[in-house]
Symmetry: C2
Subunit: 317 residues, 2 copies
């Protein structure tokens, strides 16, 4: 089996581990099974497994468990995000808050979070616990900063980057770092793979922002959602910076407007270089990720990380 | 200084520790400060400090930190509960979801949860981590079971007891247990104080249910909230069991009815022994708590636990 096939097998084990461990209480069970019935992209747990694959078969059960933790943490944030954003669709299915209620979304999110911490305690590695509790804290901060930035047209590029890092890059980074810690890798490896992963994560988020402004229908998500929610992301940010007063007014009026004429706005944002500049920004993070990937000495891991960077860069959903 | 005074001083240190550690991000800071500007009863962190006071000055910084963790975990559940129940008042102030939004409540709750886990990792005790991550998971399960039980007039006494244990007794139990673990107490002490605390917690919850059906104005909470939200608690449960068909109909119609004639319903529930039977149940848990308290050999701790049991039993808010 080559390393790609092994990785695929490991991802299957992660899915099995998550699905197997269901509470007996019917309420909890139904919610949990609904959430995990459709598979996400699992890019974060994949990243974690790549990072810990430095010693593939040493500590195998802990490797799978750690990847499951990453997936649980990520899923908990998604479930809470759906409440925060009042989203009705997740991974092609109706969201928990849509089928049940916000209350169910909040509580099953807490359930999944604490389940992740229970698994972490089982692994019993102090550094891993530290990194993941810090990352979880940073993610919630990132989401809060983003919430506060809604409709704030004065937002700076630095603030946008901080949001992308905290809400997305941070868990990518922690996934790589904890995988490396579990593999007892040396300092250089931990540093390179963490930085590579952080850049992939931010790249992934920038691409997510771009996809929201695309007319691509593969995402399974509603289009122009950020704009309609009043969230300023990179395409809007860059376009607004280049806009004249009249264009600024049009852009501001579109923000948070559920009935916005999306194609017209897209045209304007394109004309004002909002898409192009965001693509350039994505390229920067892509390049940085590749630089750090190439510093990883283990050839298998290096190859996988480069491939993951390419996947993030070329994502269409 | 007697042990009561020392405990008071320690509680102050807990409050200071929590308030001192604020994020620099304005959004996070404002929410956090709003939440911690009014003091709760701190019965759980007090319990934790009593339990760890077996060796009062050994590991003092960790004792304070652990009590802060308990308070943070409890506060996180309150903030999420206010979203779940759509409550507008908490500790005499407007709730986060009321001033800001549900989204803010969800995210700052996550922030406080993960902050608690960060502190736990600092303490670095595997058993404590295990107990607290398990307890957090059980609490969310308790809340979910309760949510599912809304308007369910077929609910059993066992289910109600499970809800009281999971949503309230569990954190009381974990507070005592982790305090004892930190103090490196023997197995007997851990067991007795944990069981005592579990009973105090359930007692505390039963009293909470009773206060919701009282005309006492000290609680700072709205009255008949459980009934209006469709939550069946002990007074309703017992009354319903004793009701004839006509009375059953009146009770069912009052459930989840925001415009219910509360005094009329209270009169009916009293007539059907709902209050009396709930008070009897409270007495059972009171007695059990006292039995386990008396098994604690350390006289200071025993005294404090008995006092705490009395406080819970006599609570008027």
């Amino acid at each position: 089996m080559n390393s790609m096939q092994m990785l695929k097998k490991e991802i299957n084990l992660v899915e099995k581990m998550i699905r197997k461990d269901v509470a007996t209480e019917a309420t909890v069970k139904n919610l949990y099974e609904h959430i995990f019935k459709s598979n996400g992209k699992k890019i974060r747990s994949r990243l974690n497994l790549i990072s810990s694959s430095l010693h593939r078969n040493k500590n195998k059960i802990h490797r799978i468990r750690l990847a499951a933790i990453i997936e649980l943490l990520h899923t908990a944030t998604l479930v809470h995000d759906d409440v925060v954003d009042d989203s009705s669709i997740r991974r092609g299915n109706r969201s928990v808050n849509n089928i049940w209620s916000n209350a169910h979304g909040v509580l099953i999110g807490d359930y999944i979070y604490s389940k992740a911490f229970m698994y972490m305690v089982d692994i019993g590695n102090q550094q891993i616990l530290q990194e993941l509790s810090n990352a979880t804290n940073d993610i919630s901060q990132g989401e809060l900063i983003q919430l506060d930035a809604i409709n704030n047209k004065e937002i700076t590029l630095n603030k946008l980057k901080k949001i992308s890092y905290f809400k997305t890059g941070r868990l990518f980074e922690a996934s790589a770092k904890t995988g490396a810690i579990l593999a007892e890798a040396n300092k250089k490896y931990i540093e390179n793979i963490s930085k590579c992963a952080k850049n992939i994560g931010i790249l992934f988020q920038i691409k997510d922002d771009l996809l929201d402004y695309s007319t691509n229908l593969k995402t399974g998500k509603p289009q122009f959602q950020d704009l309609k929610e009043g969230k300023i992301t990179y395409p809007f940010f860059y376009a607004y910076k280049n806009a004249n007063n009249k264009q600024k007014e049009i852009l501001i009026n579109s923000l948070g407007n559920k009935k916005v004429q999306t194609l017209k706005i897209l045209e304007l944002i394109e004309k004002l270089n909002g898409i192009k500049k965001t693509e350039d920004l994505a390229k920067q993070f892509y390049k940085n990720a590749i630089i750090f990937a190439k510093e990883i000495h283990n050839i298998e891991v290096q190859k996988e990380m480069i491939e993951l960077t390419n996947t993030a860069f070329n994502r269409e959903k």
